[in-house]
Each structure stands twice: as structure tokens, then as C-alpha cells.
Subunit: 228 residues, 2 copies
């Protein structure tokens, strides 16, 4: 652990600046995940990027699950540090959800990880903050849990959806073509049997996900307001 303290040396490329540390490993992992996708994060690729061996990484990180967990936590807590407070409860709930949404859109693998292991520390933070805002909104104690639960589930669902979309984006890297392919697969079904799918397909093709996310969120907030 004394190895991590760098102020001991005033300056110097002479000392190996590539000293391994948990943070450097996590940072490298995030870089790989962002640049090449989830499948590209292997301990070999990670060791290669850090110019070391797999064993060295295992000294700082217990296993791959923990690595992904810490990476997720790093991104999410960073995102949540920036949200503004003080406004009215509904706006705060929107801001909180949006910060998570934006983080997932910027780092889709966070969505995958969140869907797989929902109770990360950052998610507990979301739980706590949203509960406070729902209470300020006037939700009774009895239904507070249900409101927060719906809020979090909606967030998780969006996370999964966004991550899945990004996965397909990686496979065939231009977005309109992918959307068109999905719509085509939908519309291949008999239009008579699936009228709504056909009608909504056009909307899917042109829809703004961020706006749709907010609209869906407002649905929940509208339902919560009556303090039922």
C-alpha cells in the first residue's frame, strides 16, 4: 500500500509510473468497456493494456464481478455527484433519474451490470434520495415503498433496454440500420394481427429516447401525486 503514495518522489519518469493500483486497473477497465464493449473486457486484455500479467491484477481485485462492480460504482457515483438539489421534488426526481439515464447512455455496460446486480451502493443512494423526494411530494408512508420501488424498477428497465440497444449498435455499427432491422422484424408480422406494433414502429424509428424516458417517468410521478 505504501507503493501508491507518489508524493514521496517529487517527480520522475525514472520511477515506474505504471505502478499498479486498484484505481488504475478500474480506469483501464472502464476505458476498454467504453471503447470496445463488454465482451472485450478480459483479464488478458486488461493485463495487456496495463503491461503486466493477470496475476498482478488479481492482487488488487478479487475477481471479475468485483471489478465490474467497482467500475459501475465509479461511473454512477460520479454521475450522481453532479445533480442539483433544492428545486421542487418532482424536478429533483427527474434530475436524479436523468443523471442515471445519461450515465447509462454514455456507458451502456453500466446498464447491463445494473440489470444483473441491482443493489450496488450507488443504487442504494438512488433509493435513499428518491424516497426523500417522494416524501416531499406528499406520498404517504404506506405507499412510499411502492413509489420508490416503481421508480427504481422503471430505472432498471430503462437500463436494460439501453444496454441491449447499445449491444446491437456495436454489432452493426450504424444506428439507423439497426433500428430499421428491428422495425422490419416487427413489421414482418401480419399487420392485421399486430396493428399497434405497426403504428408504433414508425414512432420507434424516430423517437428520442431521453424524451421518452422522461415522459414515462412523468407517468409514474403523476400516478404518485394523489398520495393514494
Amino acid at each position: 500500500m505504501s507503493r501508491c503514495v507518489m508524493e514521496q518522489r517529487p517527480k520522475g519518469p525514472e520511477r515506474r509510473e505504471d505502478a499498479l493500483s486498484r484505481e488504475r486497473i478500474v480506469a483501464a477497465a472502464i476505458e476498454i468497456l467504453d471503447a470496445e464493449g463488454e465482451r472485450a473486457l478480459t483479464f488478458r486484455a486488461l493485463a495487456n493494456r496495463l503491461s503486466t500479467g493477470s496475476g498482478a491484477i488479481y492482487w488488487h481485485v478479487p475477481d471479475k464481478d468485483a471489478l465490474l462492480s467497482v467500475a459501475t460504482e465509479t461511473v454512477l457515483s460520479g454521475a450522481m455527484a453532479e445533480i442539483a438539489g433544492g428545486s421542487d421534488p418532482a424536478a429533483a426526481l427527474r434530475a436524479l433519474a436523468l443523471s442515471v439515464f445519461d450515465a447509462i447512455e454514455a456507458h451502456p455496460w453500466v446498464g447491463t451490470q445494473l440489470a444483473r446486480e441491482p443493489w450496488q451502493p450507488a443504487m442504494v443512494e438512488v433509493f435513499e434520495r428518491s424516497a426523500a423526494q417522494f416524501e416531499r411530494l406528499g406520498v404517504s408512508r404506506g405507499s412510499l415503498f411502492h413509489c420508490v420501488s416503481a421508480y427504481v424498477h422503471y430505472l432498471l428497465g430503462t437500463a436494460a433496454q439501453t444496454a441491449a440497444a447499445a449491444r446491437h449498435k456495436f454489432a452493426a455499427s450504424d444506428r439507423p440500420a439497426v433500428l430499421a432491422a428491428i422495425v422490419e422484424r416487427w413489421t414482418r408480422r401480419d399487420p392485421a394481427q399486430y396493428p399497434f406494433v405497426h403504428r408504433l414502429a414508425e414512432q420507434v424509428r424516430t423517437h428520442d429516447e431521453r424524451e421518452a424516458f422522461l415522459a414515462g417517468l412523468d407517468l409514474i410521478l403523476a400516478g404518485a401525486k394523489p398520495t393514494r
Copy 2:
């Protein structure tokens, strides 16, 4: 060189009764998934259960993703065949969501698969049916997409959550202990900083997931009703 196609089998004469088929393979896969969890489904275990080799399976199924996809589809379409229609729209939306929820609770791996690959054919079915009900509910065309989207996202979030809970249940196979462990991890945080988490922790410990799911769903339905 041979690839899996869904083509016709030569009609009249039947093969050995233990002949491999896509359905038999999928059925065996579902059995393994239900009995031993997602991690236990390997092509070797599958081949072993079917008393054959991995290569024989690959003749009927392109790869593991497709196998999981078909298994998910099998369970979901089976679940959706049983829902009753004809009642009022809100009740129909609850019934539809509940059938998916129950299927996921009975086969948690379906939740994992749904979070990873949301647009299974059965999910398009959910999309279609729920859109029809939302329209009967009086939702305007403009907000129909947002309502359905919120509905589906909530469903996906619940799927991920339920699947994750089941995964932990597998690890330490008695449920109260797992819940207690989660709550303990929550409450280890400073109570002063996380008052709501502490208050809600008790509710988590005793809550009925099915009821909570329905309550959250009603939140969305309540928000949708004003035809905003």
C-alpha cells in the same frame, strides 16, 4: 457444413422415439435452467442429459444465445396463452403484466434473458396487447407510445430485479437469510445519512413482491388514465 434450419421433416415415417429435435433440446434446457440455475446450462450438461454429444445439439440449434431465446419464448408464449380477456382495460393490463411476472418468478432465468435481449417475439406480443388496452383506456395516440414504453420498461425492470434476487437465492438457498444479509448491508450505512433506507429496509424484509409489483403498476396506470 450443415446448418440449422427450421425446415420440414420428411413427413410420414418417424425416427427413433429418442430422436433429437429442437423441441426436445429446448425442453431439456428448460429443465436444467429451472432445476439447477442459469450457470448449470452448458452444452456438455445438455448433451449429457440427452445422452448425446455437443455436435448433435448444434445441428438443431445455431448457438447458445438462440437456445436461450427459444427457451424464453417457449415459457413466455405459454404464459400468455392463459390470460383471460374481455374485462376492462386496466384489469387486462394487470392480467397481462401478472402473467409475465408469474412466468419470471417461476423461471427466473427468463428475467435475465429478457433484460439482456428484450425484443423477443413474446415481448412484441406484450407490446401489441398492452397498446390495445391502453387505447381502450382512453390514452391519446400521441402519448400511447410513452405509456406502452413505460409499461414495458417497468416490466423489464421487474424482470431484472426478480432474476437477480433468484440468483442470490441460489447462492445461499434460504430466502430470509439472504434478505437479512441485504438489509444488513444497507443498514450498515450511517443511519443518520440514510434514514429512508433504514425505514424501508423493514418493509423490504416482509414485503410481498407480487403485491408490490401490482401497486407499482397501478401507479403507471393511474398516471396514464388522464389521457394527458
